[in-house]
Symmetry: C2
Subunit: 594 residues, 2 copies
Amino acid sequence: MRREKVYAVIVPTSDYHGSEYVGEYFKLREYLSGFTGSAGTLVVTLEEAALWTDSRYFLQAECELSGSGTELMKMGESSTPKIEKFLLEKMPENSTLGFDGRTLSQEFVSRLSKTLSEKNIGISSETDFAELVWKDRPPLSAEPVFELPEQICGVSRAEKFSRIREKMKAEHADCLVISALDEIAWTLNLRGNDIEFCPLFLGFMMIFSGGSQTKLFANKEIFSDEIIEKLKADGVEIYGYGEVYSALGDLSCNVWADPRAVNHRFLTSLEDAKLIEKSSPIEAMKAVKNQTEILCVKNAHLKDGVAVTRFMKWLKTSVSSEKITELSAAEKLEEFRKLGENYMGQSFAPIMAYGAHGAIVHYSASEETNAVIEPRGMLLSDTGGHYLDGTTDITRTIVLGEISEEEKRAFTLVLAGHLNLLAARFPEGTRGSTLDYAAREPLWQNGLDFGHGTGHGVGFLLNVHEGPQRISFRAQNDAPMQAGMITSDEPGLYVEEKFGIRHESLLLCEKDENDENDENDENDENDENDENMGFLRFSPLTLVPFDRDGIDVKYLTSRQLELLNDYHRLVFEKLSPLLSGEEKKWLEKATEPI
Amino acid sequence: MRREKVYAVIVPTSDYHGSEYVGEYFKLREYLSGFTGSAGTLVVTLEEAALWTDSRYFLQAECELSGSGTELMKMGESSTPKIEKFLLEKMPENSTLGFDGRTLSQEFVSRLSKTLSEKNIGISSETDFAELVWKDRPPLSAEPVFELPEQICGVSRAEKFSRIREKMKAEHADCLVISALDEIAWTLNLRGNDIEFCPLFLGFMMIFSGGSQTKLFANKEIFSDEIIEKLKADGVEIYGYGEVYSALGDLSCNVWADPRAVNHRFLTSLEDAKLIEKSSPIEAMKAVKNQTEILCVKNAHLKDGVAVTRFMKWLKTSVSSEKITELSAAEKLEEFRKLGENYMGQSFAPIMAYGAHGAIVHYSASEETNAVIEPRGMLLSDTGGHYLDGTTDITRTIVLGEISEEEKRAFTLVLAGHLNLLAARFPEGTRGSTLDYAAREPLWQNGLDFGHGTGHGVGFLLNVHEGPQRISFRAQNDAPMQAGMITSDEPGLYVEEKFGIRHESLLLCEKDENDENDENDENDENDENDENMGFLRFSPLTLVPFDRDGIDVKYLTSRQLELLNDYHRLVFEKLSPLLSGEEKKWLEKATEPI
């Protein structure tokens, strides 16, 4: 740091694309700090080191950082300063802050610069500190890319390019720069394997309007000759992964880039271009699944439903006779999933949280914490899979024996909220920040709440978390729900050191056919443009019973009970043809009307 | 216009303060166009004239504009261009647009200039066209100002100034410029009578930080010597109403102004000042009522409840024997209100809408439309009063005889939503855009909706519509609910040419005492800073029965029925000591449990 003349360095957990999960090559923060959690930012000054992470990792970080001298900064606690404030306080006037400009978003760096300008602190963003200090750094991942056939992805590359170019035209953009890996994979109908849990490959993309030219910046080695030829036919030429920055410098046209998505070096690389700062148009297109994707993902959920149902049956019937741990249960569930056709792997790190572990929202069992599952209490199981025909994400809370009144009440109130949201009908234009009321109402009425969002978008064989829609009453400017979006419905309740409950299914948003709202189009001064909007509703993609042993019907309204029985009837109808013998019998009992 | 060298002129319905209602002096748009509605914008070019207004005035405007050559522009319809687009299309390159810069908000003019810059169209904002063309223009109102005693407003001027100056300090503002009339009245604990339905006086205000200096720009004649002295003691000096613009030019410090609130000339008048563009801090302070205001407004609602209850009883029992019209009913209700102590007048133009008129959301009966109320169908009655101890706003839909199944269903579903919202409990930080789900859910489940907002803030002897909170699922960035806010709960349903339903009470937001949510403070990546938040709930201020004759219990859940009976029990308990004889007997029957 002294050689580089910097007083402090920021090491985030990030690749060059703002990905939620990152490849081994990018884990400098883990290498330097010893903290292995999936989220955290390390700040090293000439005097000290500190690591910011969120509540799900407090315990783990305390443990892993202990003795290292690195201070743990608990994000979300009022006594914890923001990174910007911390740096402003600790750094001397006129000193310099260093970071690899490819690992921080342009938006974050803008905010940072603004704060630090108070002390005239400069920024040095050209140094790759990982190269300087990390001796045995793993190589960049270079896994082969494969193409999704049109029977699975539904829309051709050419058609996607044409829709994107229409949006570019409307914004007078000559070049659209894309750095989000899932947006590149979606546009090109390609998938890869460069990041754990995400079927993505490393790359950047520039789409030019006017003609049909697209530049893809990626490791050419990972593409077969056949794919290279096909891409060429659609106007896509492949350039080196690292060449993107000099190519940005060569642009002298209107360039559309999303400051929340592109890294800082993108913007500093631009020289003569005129920048259009706006969200990428691909995020919204990708979120609305086409009819082919919907048919495929329904099939993926059938296979996944069978796997998770088998797992539930196995767990509940074996827990008193076998030694089962959180880790072995996760393995068992993955074994069931592997029996499904075209299973490709887990869509995120599985959460198998027994008893009090359930109250740790993003608990991930390790050899050290691995609990033995006993025939009492509950297991919170939040897992998902990628299949060639789609991505799943499901949480069931499984009752293993006796549970307390408090646990039953919590289990049932959370289920009531889950069912309320599942049954919501709403006009087009409604946002998840409004719909969240449905999921939280049974808890709120009892003075209870949970701290996480109720729902996130889910990609089609892409990231298990995607936008632009979400379901959270805290969200501002979240995108309205649209027919074709897939969103999770996952309320929860967590009682520290006791238990955790979460019930999660994925919901498909669809047009509601029984509109009778044509008569109501009065406006008043508060509103604009709501002529003849249609209604939307959800239908469940996830097909796995909720554990009846956790339900106390006195906490359900008659409507909620009806919804539960309807859902269980659907689960039995869809899954029973795919099961036999004991498993089918078990499902029949598990889905019996209450 | 040729002499002024302008190609087009905009004449909005606005005073210099962005008020919702405006005094006679400001009604140039009405004078020029002949359209008498309370909202509309006239555009006159050298070739043509057009008037923009919203759906509540389509019928009236069509009628009043017919034969005038002025084209009606129906806002909210997709074929109607926005004013900016219309001007951009119609105006030649390099021409000039004229308007009185005091009558348009800075925010609107910024947007307008940006659009018109495409054709290099200039702006001339110094001319008062009203002075040029309006021969017998009424004078500026100059009604006397009166002071609210501290037993009513609860907090002294000095205390308010000190809280405002704290906010100014945090923003490094040397001067806060206020142009919203209700913010000035609130800060000074003064009220006036310059605008129909609003106890306000015309003025501008500059609060300076550091010392205790405040400049009030208003007609000095309307203040008594006693008030002038008292103001002086609190550092407030009075200057001429029109002197504000030159005073702005003299400022050379950091000036805080809200671009949505101040008029265009404010900003063009600033010369050496550094501008801080941010919402006024007074809006949020004013919205949270103090304990004294709350006690007072509860009393105002008792008096108002008695008046409206008497009106309902009178109407329902007299409708078959007397000739009652929409206008005479409104007069009768005001007579009942006048019996209440310290009644000061109506808080807005009363809506008495019989039968199909009920479907016209902001219907206002005139001599031409005035319908005879008959012993069948329903009357939608949306009215309110100002009392010295607070402002009311209530809608009841009154059943006058036989109604159809469709009407009963609509009446009851809207009531179900009203009760859902009334009974909501929610954590601090929750916004009205989330709570709106509660009010709309019974309608949405049936594919029905209404086009207006569900709730607006209500001032304390100030404007009947105020922010910053509101209840509308379409709202973006609405302020969170806070204990002490008063908000309306007014879902509706409108079936064109048949009937309209609305049920409105004012709700007070309060801290919920039975929190049990301390145990739940887990966060996930979606959320920040929700440590140990408390819960809030509503309690009804408005105390008037809902007409039992409109209710079909089969459309209510058992919980909603319980809420209705609870509310009616409360109404009887509070109002019965204030009624006697037949009226008391009637109330007892009207509030009997169902």
